[in-house]
Amino acid sequence: MAARDNHGNTPPWGANFGVIGKPLRKVDGIAKATGAAIYTDDIQLPGMLHAKTLRSPHAHARVRSVDASAALALEGVHAVITGADMPIKYGVIPWTQDENALAVDRVRFIGDPVAAVAAVDEDTANAALKLIAVDYEVLHAFLDPFESLVRHEPAIHADRKEGNISKHVRLEFGEVDALAKSADVVLEDEYSFHGSTHAPIEPHCAVATFSADGLLTLWSATQITHYVHRALAQVLELPAQKIRVIQPCLGGAFGGKSDPFSLEFCVSKLAMVTGRPVKMLYTREEVFYAHRGRHPMFMKYRTAAQANGRITSVDAKILIDGGSYSSFGLVTTYYAGQLLTGPYDFPSYRFDSTRVFTNKPPCGPKRGHGSVQPRFAFEVQLDQLAERLKLDPIELRRVNFQGSQTRTVNGQRVTSNGFLECLDSVERASGWKKKRAKLPFGRGLGVAGSMYISGTNYPVYPNKMPQAGVQLKLDRSGVVTVFTGGNDIGQGSNSMCAYIVAEELGVPVEHVRVVAADTDLCPVDLGAYSSRVTFMVGNATIDACRKVRRQIVAAVAKKWAVDPGRVRLMPGVAIDLEDPAKALSTAEAFQLAEEEFDTLGATGSYNTPTLGGDYRGGSIGASPAYSFTAHVVEASVDTETGRIQVHDVWCAHDCGRALNPMLVAGQIEGSVYMGIAEALLEEHKVNRFGLHQGPSLLDYRLPTSVDTPELHALIVESLDPEGPYGAKEAGEGPLHSSIPALSNAIFDAVGIRMKHLPFTPGRVLELLREKDALEESKSAGAAARGQA
């Protein structure tokens, strides 16, 4: 790690912040609230054509031929493209590129794109789709991941060595079996997590133009402009210098816009073929097919512990249903094991995870990528352990706390760690001691904890260049423009940049313009995923600011003939700390600096230090800083209907430092909402025909406001030594433990263990019946013994 990457958690001039830590509105808040913000679908260009995708009605089939002649003959149709027009494969992870923009010879799920049409309007394009004749040879469809594990013919990806296995990872640390043998208690159980999807309000949309001089411009609702840029160059066989990718205002992503998507290639190719701008907007149904949502996982855990609750050994075996393509699957398979090794310390750990292909929409990264499912299983198992040992579940977690400035069993470095404060905070706020195990039958409390990464040091393609870059341009008027490759997907990263610039350079936030996610204008950033943006782009922004700040301070000090240490930049003014009557406006200060140093600007960047365990895959999941979370859920169960009602969720999250507490609280609330939603209602389900069960917002049941519990966001600030002003992530961590905390609350309420998601009322009733039957047979047994 270079010196530029570490700025300490307080600025050299002290922690007396003017902007950081204040609940300011987002820089794009007004534009969004008034409808002025420009989303991709708002873009209208002269002569623009509309494109639509023909999709496979078969879950698995060979494409023998595609005949588009009738479609091309339809009036108003400008072009039809098929797999033959873009045969080069792509995929976000360079080692597993197995996707085609349009099917080349094989379709792998119902909804897989086969051809695309550009026409004068959407209706004409839709009519043309019905005229395209595709000859399919239907193949056996794999809908059950357990089948894919053992049956490899017909292989879903013919060129894979391991049949229908997408990725297998087995890692072992310490004496797993020996420690389990010598433990006081050993718990073994099975858990499963269903699939869920992101359901952002804005569907995927892309617009492309191809200029007469060969420049391709793509506007796309993506969360990773840089990877889209690279993928376009590869697939379209264009030099990267001839491509510009821009992400307009974005209406939610949650991981669902991280991969390069078919429509981005299709509009680009169609623009190249027709010479006209081309737009494609997915229908809601198509968003469900694009998917990349939460992987279904089938998990076995064995946890061993001493009588005092100390965990000695954890052994996990996980089967991951990947759907039809690799996507981020390699990372998912690692994350499923690698991210479990905190906030608790255990001396031995083994995980064996296998991701298989099935003929379903491809899974990928959804908020809490790869680790929400194992976290669910493990935290429920910890609750079972507490029950067995008759320990308070919060106490059990305290006993196993790993501490700060430590190393995990799998060799990850942990810096700041506010997990104990998180536990204290939810314990206090929820009234845990008064309520847990003390409420009337039917109502209960549950706890769970988790950790998550603030980015990792694993760029998806190997390179030694910075992971985040920022450029500043200072104007004589006092305006600062910050150029960042970071993608604001609603999480507020543009606002975060503006706050930092305002803090560092002493300008009011409204005098900072943020230009983001435009590959022609902005330095590269790797994009909005793995909760990396605040940490990495934040540090890069501080890095750039410090450089110009030195110049501004020096110029002002020179003018006043004082020591630079006396110059303080406040929002809108520069003052002399020892003679506050001496003051200059920001614009005047900038002008002095420009006279002294020429045109003002700077670049800044960030790279992670070398991190991770010394083994293959050891850097996957290695983060410069981890966030920590604890949840307490209070829920009740209607034992007649099986319906679960979640009353309150307290979520304490250690985000290092809250650069804007209002935005952090928003992320906590959004995460908890999403976690409870997938626990109780949402299900991305593929039926026996390989069809998505209900690809609409009516049938995919997102909770409404009346279904949402009271959410209590509790911020814990551990001030990380390496984060920007000490900040860590807040966007994904707070989802994780909400789900096991709910399961554990149901146990406290009615004594049943929900080990399989989703927690439907039918399943609750079934378990209640089983429990009653067991209790009856026990008491009958006791009565019989009593008589004897």
């Binding site: 119902i110 209706d123 569907p203 149904e285 209602l681 069809l691 690809p695 909770p703 439907t760 009733l765």
Partner: protein, 340 residues
């Protein structure tokens, strides 16, 4: 966004003009009220009418009034929200007000109409899908195909009546009044339904539902609605239960009625409800026992299918629970029975 197929739109301003338009256009024309059912169905290409006749500009179809004989007359174009909020409906036909208050979500209730709700298309998870989806499935009997995916090998469509107003109106002995170029026709709602999921209503091409009348209810009338659904808003019923109790002297039941919907093509009236409860005194132990008996009977008589989304065995188990809770709510003058 899904595109809406092209059609011609007519916006007549009188019932006479509308019936004329329909008669001239023949059976391919479609009536549009609030459009909250029609529009999604058009986008799914379940219907491809050449002409759509909107009733939105016909003022005579809107409003709730009390007729001289004490009955309530509700214009077919009265919005669901207006029905739910109307004080006469709330007092004299509580079950309908409660059912209306739980239809869909707030936006849809201010667009949707009572007439449209009565005439709602039956629903099925294999049918209420896009053209692409249904094509990938291979279609089904109800539209474009030959198989049923709910009852394997079944020759009959069992798509579910999913309108919350229907069971409520059945317990209220509602009468439906239609106009066409042939004149006026009235039918008791009890006789209006067909047991066929493809089309479950006895309405003729060219007929407009103009109003719904509810005969006056006796002073001891109590009623309530119970609705099972996954979310607290928006969702169609997984089960809808309408309960009516008319109480006489000493709060003894004189008439009892229980109608359950979202099972199959038509709402189901639970047999022997009156027989079981008649004469019992509300609040007595006997009453509670008999309500339990009736609920168990309802459970025996109702067979939810995998026609609409949702866990069918759970829906089946909930018949008894919702029947009992809704009857008790009616007796207590509370309700609706809903999980929120």
């Amino acid at each position: 966004m899904l595109r809406c197929p092209k059609f011609e739109l007519a916006t007549p301003t009188s019932v006479a003009a509308a019936t004329r338009l329909l008669a001239d256009a023949g059976p391919s024309a479609m009536i549009l009220a609030g459009g909250t059912d029609v529009m999604p169905n058009l986008k799914h290409e379940l219907f491809t009418p050449a002409l759509v006749v909107s009733l939105a500009r016909i003022p005579e179809l809107n409003g709730i009034r009390r007729a001289e004989d004490g009955s309530l007359v509700i214009g077919a174009m009265t919005t669901i929200e207006a029905v739910a909020a109307n004080s006469q409906v709330r007092e004299r036909a509580t079950v309908l007000a409660q059912a209306a208050s739980l239809i869909a979500g707030p936006q849809l209730r201010t667009m949707g109409t009572l007439g449209g709700n009565v005439l709602l298309e039956t629903r099925c998870q294999w049918y209420n899908q896009s053209y692409f989806w249904r094509q990938a499935l291979g279609f089904c009997i109800k539209k474009d195909g030959t198989k049923c995916h709910v009852v394997e090998g079944g020759a009959k469509c069992v798509a579910a009546a999913s309108n919350d107003s229907a069971p409520a109106l059945m317990t209220l002995d509602a009468e439906l009044h239609f106009e066409s170029v042939e004149g006026r026709r009235s039918v008791r709602i009890e006789e209006f339904w067909l047991g066929d999921g493809v089309f479950n209503k006895k309405i003729n091409a060219g007929e407009i539902l103009v109003e719904i009348t509810l005969p006056s209810t006796p002073s001891g009338h109590r009623s309530a609605y119970g609705k099972l659904r996954e979310r607290g808003s928006i969702d169609f019923p997984l089960l809808g239960v309408a309960a009516r109790l008319d109480l006489g002297k000493d709060e003894r039941v004189e008439r009892a009625d229980l109608v359950i919907t979202a099972l199959a093509a038509r709402p189901h009236r639970v047999q022997r409800a009156g027989e079981i409860l008649r004469g019992t005194q509300v609040g007595s132990e006997d009453f509670v026992t008999r309500v339990g008996e009736l609920a168990r009977l309802a459970h025996k008589q109702c067979h939810p299918l995998e026609n609409i989304p949702g866990d069918a065995p759970w829906r089946k188990a909930m018949v008894a629970v919702y029947a009992r809770r809704t009857l008790l709510a009616a007796a207590a003058g509370t309700g609706p029975v809903h999980h929120l």
